[in-house]
């Protein structure tokens, strides 16, 4: 890691060399380590140090992006020279919009110290647990540290550093069970409980039975809800999608289409998530209510999309070149009942541990998604988990699914998505399963 002073002074030197009216320079450094295990052994174990210097420059209604990991000063000077040629070659279409400086909220900068030995020790614990039940153990543990600095010609000068850990454990025998979670560090994740849940699901999912596709009440556990939320975000919560008229917000903005208790927001400063106070333009992240008391409120913005509506960026720019702004710190507000209570009050339904290979390009505006269930699909009857089921294919509008939510669990966990999502389990009526598979 370089630290704030070194990064900002490096960026200032480069910014000063760029001769254009609008310019932005940023440096992202990322160190990540990851241990993957399968069939009770560590089969992949890696560490990487990444660096990316990005220059955005604009003159009139012309703009260009250059990105390199090579910090050789002569090469950078050559890149800066190339900018001129690349800008002059363009017709005038749209200027490079840059944000004004804003105060950056302070946040805790406690970083993790990645340890292959700690990860190996955890793998040993997971595999020993599986071996007691004659099961094979699979999964991954990762530790990530990132720092990011940015300066622009309007006076933005921002820096942040953050870290997080991610763990997933899967057991396989005649059935399979899986759990995963994000934490501030590996010690922050309760792996004893997480691996126990994965183990129990594996044991319980032995000898699954087939069920006919159709419309069912489902209880989606947090990992499945995370995927649902990710699809809603990708297709709907970006101002770019709204401006291109391909978001469900174009149809339902300001209308009460969900129940009162549906509240979804993005908050990069919420300590229950992974705090990243600025976006990739150096704009402080604002809390944005995406759905409030059942009403879709609006998307998130970066500077380019905000300017088009004479608004201010909400601090949701992605690294350039990007497909538009996106919410990376999502929260689905929890309910009051435990998952156990929700199951016990369900007369007939299907409990889904997680989804697999979900895509929603079928009909992006309705977020019509198709995907599979996996690693623990169970039939609930009379408030009890009755038996494991073979996996099912769903084809379901996720917007419609959100309108059919009848319960939300009080437990919520932090799961990976485009960024991070803190999500509960939800009970959804009339969820459409359209196909089945052999296992």
């Amino acid at each position: 890691m370089w630290g704030e002073d070194k990064i900002l002074s490096f960026l200032k030197n480069i910014l000063d060399k760029i001769p254009f009216e609008r310019k932005e320079v940023s440096l992202a450094i990322n160190n990540q380590e990851l241990t993957r295990f399968a069939n009770n052994i560590i089969h992949q174990n890696v560490a990487e140090e990444n660096l990316s210097l990005t220059i955005r420059a604009g003159e009139g209604k012309r703009k260009i992006i250059i990105n390199t990991s090579d910090l050789d000063i002569e090469k950078i000077d050559k890149l800066i020279k190339d900018l001129d040629e690349l800008l002059k070659a363009q017709p005038e279409t749209e200027e490079l919009y840059l944000p004004e400086p804003e105060p950056i909220p302070s946040h805790e900068k406690k970083l993790i110290n990645p340890s292959p030995e700690l990860r190996a020790n955890l793998v040993k614990i997971f595999t020993e647990k599986g071996e007691k039940h004659n099961l094979e153990t699979f999964g991954a543990l990762s530790e990530n540290i990132s720092e990011f600095g940015i300066m622009n010609s309007k006076g933005v000068k921002a820096y942040t550093v953050y870290s997080y850990a991610h763990g997933k454990v899967m057991y396989m025998g005649d059935g399979s069970g899986y759990q995963e979670e994000i934490g501030k560090n590996l010690n922050n994740i309760n792996f004893e409980e997480l691996s126990e849940r994965a183990l129990q699901k594996c044991i319980d999912s032995k000898n699954p039975e087939e069920i006919d596709p159709g419309s069912y009440t489902v209880i989606l556990e947090p990992l499945a809800v995370g995927e649902l939320l990710e699809m809603l975000s990708y297709f709907g919560f970006s101002a770019k999608a709204v401006q291109e008229k391909r978001s469900f917000l174009n149809l339902y903005m300001g209308q009460k289409i969900f129940k009162d208790f549906i509240n979804i927001f993005d908050d990069g400063l919420n300590p229950e998530g992974i705090v990243i106070p600025i976006d990739f333009e150096g704009v402080p992240k604002k809390r944005v209510d995406l759905i409030k008391n059942g009403i879709p409120m609006g998307p998130v913005y970066d500077t380019a999309t905000a300017v088009k509506e004479e608004k201010k960026s909400t601090g949701h720019a992605l690294p350039p070149p990007s497909w538009g702004p996106a919410p990376l710190n999502l929260f689905f507000a929890p309910g009051e009942k435990s998952l156990e209570e929700i199951i016990s009050e369900t007369e007939r339904g299907i409990l889904v541990t997680r989804f697999h290979y979900v895509n929603a390009f079928l009909d992006p505006i309705r977020v019509l998604a198709t995907g599979m269930t996996r690693d623990g699909t169970f039939l609930i009857e009379n408030g009890k988990i009755k038996k494991p089921l073979k996996n099912l294919r769903f084809t379901q509008s996720f917007v419609e699914a959100l309108t059919n939510v009848v319960e939300i669990s009080k437990e919520a966990i932090l799961v990976p998505s485009m960024g991070f999502s803190k999500v509960p389990a939800i009970k959804v009526e009339n969820f459409n399963f359209t196909g089945k598979t052999e296992f």
């Binding site: 990540q32 990851l34 241990t35 993957r36 295990f37 399968a38 009770n40 052994i41 560590i42 992949q44 174990n45 890696v46 560490a47 990487e48 140090e49 990444n50 660096l51 990316s52 703009k63 260009i64 992006i65 250059i66 990105n67 390199t68 990991s69 090579d70 890149l79 040629e85 690349l86 070659a89 363009q90 279409t93 749209e94 292959p116 030995e117 190996a120 999964g139 991954a140 990762s142 454990v169 899967m170 899986y178 291109e244 008229k245 149809l251 070149p321 697999h356 979900v358 390009f361 009909d363 992006p364 198709t370 995907g371 599979m372 996996r374 294919r393 196909g435 598979t437 052999e438 296992f439």
Partner: protein, 477 residues
């Protein structure tokens, strides 16, 4: 690159270990996108760094960095990680034997796209974009070009030293017609960025994006008033672009031996093509022949050597419908007493090589394309992928396409919107009763194949000609 590679390898070799390899990679990319008449993105990207893979006491460690001057620290990190792996593992990795190579390989091209003036590229994109926007009813347009250059060296403690240089080009256009909640689109020559291959600017000229702009824009508008495809079980003909993705998802991924052995189980899943099925499972009908061919002239999955230093090869995965082979690495091939068939590739310097598809090609049949349609009394023709999903053993798939055409009495008829088809992999391939001949066969480039953790994106190819399948479940929304 070779000099610094030797220095890193020498240092690593002094630290011991069963095996070490070093890769140094410089990648250069240029991306240009025009959207609705605006230069949405013009970017150049260059990345340079190295990765060290160490096998210590039968266990793997890997470390990588952009900072070549600090290579000692990275090499030591790779050893530290391998030792941590070894402290847990009860089984040791053994590598299949491989020859030592001192070699150079370069992909073929005529015109270096990085030397083509920026104005010329922009002119092409703005012209295609304008033609699409001039079609009444078009709401959104996209035109893009993408160029990729990779120079890399591979050195191993066994003595191999391999230099490779790869140049790839691609591009495409998409027109959207949007009316309320109905979003329709048409793309050319393929969706999600177009088509890509090893080659230079000459390929972009060959694509004729401008000549196809008006046609696809009009088709997108026509789709708004088309009926959704009715649900039915019928005969289905897939065009090359969609069939390429079908091969990718239902043959390419399930034949990756690391996936079969569970190495991807907790992420992307496993495979129905378990070890017992090799030479013992009817994957498709007798006319289905699928090869993994890394030697193809322009395929995106071609190379001289893989990232373990194994030469490019052509091998059958499915022969006369029978499943016969996997994509392998030195580690996985050794488990069966075989040599690697050379499919290990890494997404740049910072990631480890994994088993990746090369060019997974469905070999052509013997029926002219025109006869494929003419000999179909009733059915549906689908073109260009829009959506894709398959289960974690690669059995139950569901694909959406941009457009479908009714086939009646051997002729293409009215168009349908929102078409999809779904099925079980081996049932689908067993129902294949005709494949068009080599006149309509080409390799399509897929530059965005995701696999592994951290996620790696591979550039792969799929050679196909349109083909016909019986009794397939299709529908629209």
């Amino acid at each position: 690159m070779l000099e610094i590679g030797r220095e890193i390898l020498n240092y690593a070799s002094r630290l011991g270990g069963d095996y070490v390899d070093v890769r140094i990679v410089r990648r250069k990319q240029e991306e240009i996108e025009v959207k609705n008449g605006v230069l949405e993105n013009a970017s150049k990207n260059e990345t340079y760094g190295f990765g060290v893979r160490v096998l210590y006491n039968g266990a793997w460690g890997f470390a990588s960095s952009f900072n070549l001057s600090d290579y000692r620290k990275i090499v030591e990190k790779a050893f530290q990680i391998a030792k941590a792996s070894a402290s847990v593992n009860k089984k040791k990795v053994v590598l299949a034997p491989e020859e030592v190579y001192k070699a150079k390989w370069e992909s073929q091209y005529k015109i270096d796209p990085f030397s083509v003036p920026f104005e010329k590229k922009l002119d092409l994109l703005f012209t295609a974009d304008k033609i699409m926007r001039e079609v009444k009813g078009i709401s959104l347009t996209e035109a893009s070009l993408s160029f990729f250059k990779e120079d890399k060296v591979f050195l191993s403690s066994e003595g191999s030293e391999i230099e490779q240089s790869i140049l790839e080009s691609g591009g495409g256009i998409t027109a959207y017609a949007i009316e309320g909640a109905d979003v329709q689109r048409r793309s050319y020559p393929n969706s999600f960025g177009g088509d890509f291959r090893k080659g230079g600017w000459e390929f972009i000229e060959e694509l004729d994006l401008i000549g196809n702009a008006e046609r696809i824009a009009k088709e997108a508008v026509l789709l708004l008033s088309a009926e959704p495809l009715p649900e039915m079980v019928t005969t289905l003909i897939l065009d090359g672009t969609q069939l390429a993705l079908q091969v990718h998802e239902s043959c390419g991924h399930p034949t990756e031996l690391d996936r079969v052995l569970g190495m991807e189980a907790s992420f992307a899943g496993t495979s129905f093509l378990t070890i017992d099925k090799r030479n013992n499972f009817q994957y498709g009908s007798e006319i289905v022949n699928i090869v993994a061919d890394a030697t193809h002239l322009y395929g995106l999955g071609s190379f001289g050597f893989d990232d373990e230093g194994v030469p490019a090869q052509k091998n059958y995965l499915v022969k006369n419908g029978l499943f016969v082979g996997y994509l392998t690495s030195r580690e996985t091939a050794a488990l069966f007493g075989e040599k690697s068939n050379g499919t290990m590739r890494a997404d740049g310097w910072n990631r480890i090589p994994l088993i990746r598809m090369t060019n997974i090609n469905l070999l052509p049949g013997d029926m002219p394309y025109e006869d494929l349609i003419a000999s179909t009394d009733e059915g549906v023709y689908m073109a260009v992928n829009r959506n894709w999903s398959i289960d974690d053993k690669r059995l139950n798939f569901h694909f959406g396409c941009e457009i479908a055409y009714e086939i009646k009495d051997g002729k293409l008829g009215k168009i349908y919107k929102n078409p999809y088809y779904t099925g079980i992999t081996y049932e689908f391939w067993r129902s294949c009763d005709a494949i068009a001949d080599e006149k309509s066969w080409r390799v399509w480039g897929v530059p965005n194949c995701g696999k592994g953790e951290p996620m790696q994106v591979a550039r792969v190819g799929h050679g196909v000609a349109p083909a016909r399948f019986k009794k397939v479940k299709v529908g629209g929304k």
